[in-house]
Subunit: 187 residues, 2 copies
DNA sequence: CGCCATCTGTACCATTCAGTACATTATTGA
DNA sequence: TCAATAATGTACTGAATGGTACAGATGGCG
């Protein structure tokens, strides 16, 4: 029979889109087969654990992307202020300027929070910590750095919720602009 | 047969809890009957439109509560600064200091956003507008009032997401405290 | 008492769900 | 060329889904 897909990794972004749009419960195998173009046979060949393994793989991929493109630069960059600005730019790009929703946030609010609790918590905790570290290196007192970092992570999630609720992506852009002004204020 | 419930309105809070915890898709009739103690017969007697009518009724009830307890005071109170502080206190109480999630936010992120888009958008838009009006009356320039109001509404949602993701309700308390300081800053 | 609208449990329906089984096909490497 | 393995489509399962039908029960009112 026809061989359609080269790599398991190639379909992770597609899976991500389905979970993003429908949530874990709402992402039926029918949706998944339709979006990926793979039949159940292939799907269960790549993911013997079924939907749960698919979701876990997607979470892991997202986690890896943020680790490489956001958290690590925040921790390592020699110029913390530039790292913060880079973070905002990459965040804007990743979430398509507010047109895309955060899968981890969706999972956090859903009933699947329990199932993927560890991965969900780690994603946000590491974001907050990496940002706080950058702010501290930039010269902020530790407590103030922690406070601003938490505020930023939370604002990004809230902006995504509000942008989608109001069907107005510009909300997200304004929130990022606000963070750009405030995170490095007084430095 | 046993008559169990007095009023349709009595079960709306229970329905709200189910939708809050499981989302719209995940709130199966099995969950609903278990939580409310009502059989399908009664449920479909009170809500002939099924799940969709139940969710719409819950949204309407929440909307009414916020209109009466949050938006209207913000618009009407003679002391805008006090009204803002009241809003934060009532918000804290409503969301159980971060232990409870926002049903409207959950719906906004889910695929039901399209079905209840109007109610979802109106909930957030009116919150933002009422708060902006209060801040403007308190002496803030219109543009600054709008900006702070949007930031506040968004921060509340983001704090709920983060609190649940990290399983740490204190995140919500810190966010509200931050808003208390910042909303009325410079007045 | 007895009527009647309101309420409620139960059996049932078609559909969809995630997941399994397996035969069949393609691809690769020897 | 020819196995061995990787990939794939299809048919299927049992359970759960939302929703319907309806026969009763219940309570208030005359």
């Amino acid at each position: 029979m026809a061989r359609t897909v080269a790599e398991r990794a190639d379909i992770l972004p597609l899976l991500g889109e389905v979970f993003r749009e429908h949530g874990y419960e709402g992402a039926s195998l029918a949706h998944i087969t339709a979006r990926t173009g793979l039949g159940k046979g292939s799907l269960y060949h790549f993911f013997p654990g079924g939907k749960e393994e698919m979701a876990a793989a997607v979470l892991k991929e997202i986690d890896g992307w943020f680790e490489a493109n956001v958290y690590a630069p925040l921790r390592a960059d020699e110029d913390p202020a530039a790292a913060v600005r880079d973070m905002l730019a990459r965040t804007d790009a990743y979430f398509r300027s507010g047109r895309r929703v955060c899968l981890v946030g969706v999972f956090a609010l859903g009933e699947v929070r329990d199932r993927f609790g560890e991965q969900v918590a780690s994603y946000f905790a590491r974001w907050r910590e990496a940002l706080a570290a950058a702010l501290a290196r930039a010269g902020l007192p530790s407590a103030e750095a922690d406070d601003r970092a938490e505020e930023a992570v939370l604002a990004i999630q809230g902006a995504l919720v509000l942008a989608r609720a109001l069907n107005d992506p510009a909300v997200f852009g304004r929130a990022l602009a606000r963070l750009g002004r405030r995170l490095l204020d007084g430095l």
